[in-house]
Symmetry: C2
Subunit: 237 residues, 2 copies
């Protein structure tokens, strides 16, 4: 006969086990993709501040590089402005402060790289077919919005096509003034960006079809068909 205490310990252990198992790859994918998107907003805002401040010191360099990340790297490469610069008075402390801030932004960009590499590995292991068709970023966003790979696998292609366009869709359903949206998150896919306007609807449909198939193959651990699916999408353009 097992004692009450033993029973209690056994139940606790089981509960703990059950909770542990619920943290899965989907959760890490969701956390990674939302953090990457947060860091994108952060680097964007902080870069603008660095640019504005640094431009007082060396306006020529700031104008030269539109891309935030390239600008930040260039500032870290050489701190001294040339004598011909039209920049204003900076004490040593002022410059040191702006440079330190620039370095922090550089750290954030490196952090993003690291998170993206982690996400790509995760996606490659957890959803190789979706990754082959949609790419790691878009695939992760779809899993995040759907809630899990399982839920994504259960969705109709038409639903996947509009994931992330909920606001536009409900606005359309409510007053029918605007056209129904043709795509949500998948709009950022290279193939759709490349496609001519009048073909975008068709390509979006093919893309969503292939992602739906890919998600099912991934969830049910079928044979890898990502390459074939990807080719089908490419051919649609």
């Amino acid at each position: 006969v097992t004692s009450f205490k033993e029973q209690r310990t056994a139940i606790l252990l089981k509960t703990k086990q059950a909770i542990r198992e619920r943290v899965g790859r989907d959760d890490h994918i969701t956390n990674a993709i939302t953090t990457i998107e947060e860091i994108d907003r952060i680097t964007n805002r902080l870069s603008k501040r660095v640019r504005g401040w640094y431009a007082l010191y060396h306006p020529e360099l700031e104008k030269e590089h539109e891309d935030h990340r390239i600008f930040v790297d260039r500032v870290m490469e050489y701190h001294q402005r040339p004598d011909t610069s039209m920049g204003g008075t900076f004490e040593e402390e002022d410059l040191a402060t702006v440079i330190a801030l620039t370095q922090t932004v550089q750290t954030l960009y490196a952090q993003r790289d690291m998170l993206l590499a982690y996400l790509e590995t995760l996606m490659q292991e957890h959803a190789p077919n979706v990754t082959a068709v949609a790419g790691a970023m878009i695939g992760a966003r779809l899993i995040h919005i759907a809630g899990s790979l399982e839920r994504l696998a259960m969705m109709a292609a038409g639903t996947i096509q509009l994931l992330g366009a909920e606001t536009a869709l409900f606005r359309h359903l409510k007053n029918r003034k605007k056209l129904a949206p043709k795509h949500g998150v998948i709009f950022n896919h290279q193939v759709l960006q490349r496609a001519p306007r009048q073909k975008q609807g068709k390509v979006a449909r093919v893309l969503a079809d292939c992602i739906a198939i890919a998600a099912r193959v991934d969830f049910f651990k079928g044979t890898f068909t990502g390459d074939t699916l990807r080719k089908k999408v490419e051919d649609a353009v």
Copy 2:
């Protein structure tokens, strides 16, 4: 007789000089305070992400510390959860990623400390009286909103009292439904936070009066009276 070329060089030099002189302490104060405020928003948002992710691994530690910064420091102190934790499955890579992210947030907090120390030195030199009365952060925000120490020095105390409450003020002027705001940026001042509700209006007025005087003393480089002014504010409570 000076040549055309010599004249041109001289004029260019003068122009450059004039532009350089226009970058002053006010600009650095404005950049420092707005960047600090930006970093406050950033650490807040990023800390929430780290908490959510880390809580899957070690929920007990996350619940233990409400303050974001303390939580982040604690995570960096010890990475391993105890065996009794209810946390879920984490591969080595997952944990390493969350820890790296936590470290980045820690870097951002250190960046904020550094910017604040810089701002305090700036304010101490450029506006010692305003700093004594309002503190470096609130003083800097007032200079930022006014546009410069000069403009702040030209403002009536009643204007200073409402700086930063423009939205509330215009709403009041437009429909008179709500009461006129009693304070803007200065509301965050310790003295006002400590004052009982019914005294806040009076204290805000005294505080604004003293900041107005302090700004004028600072701008016209008068003798330091910050201590006396500060005492007057403290006595108003």
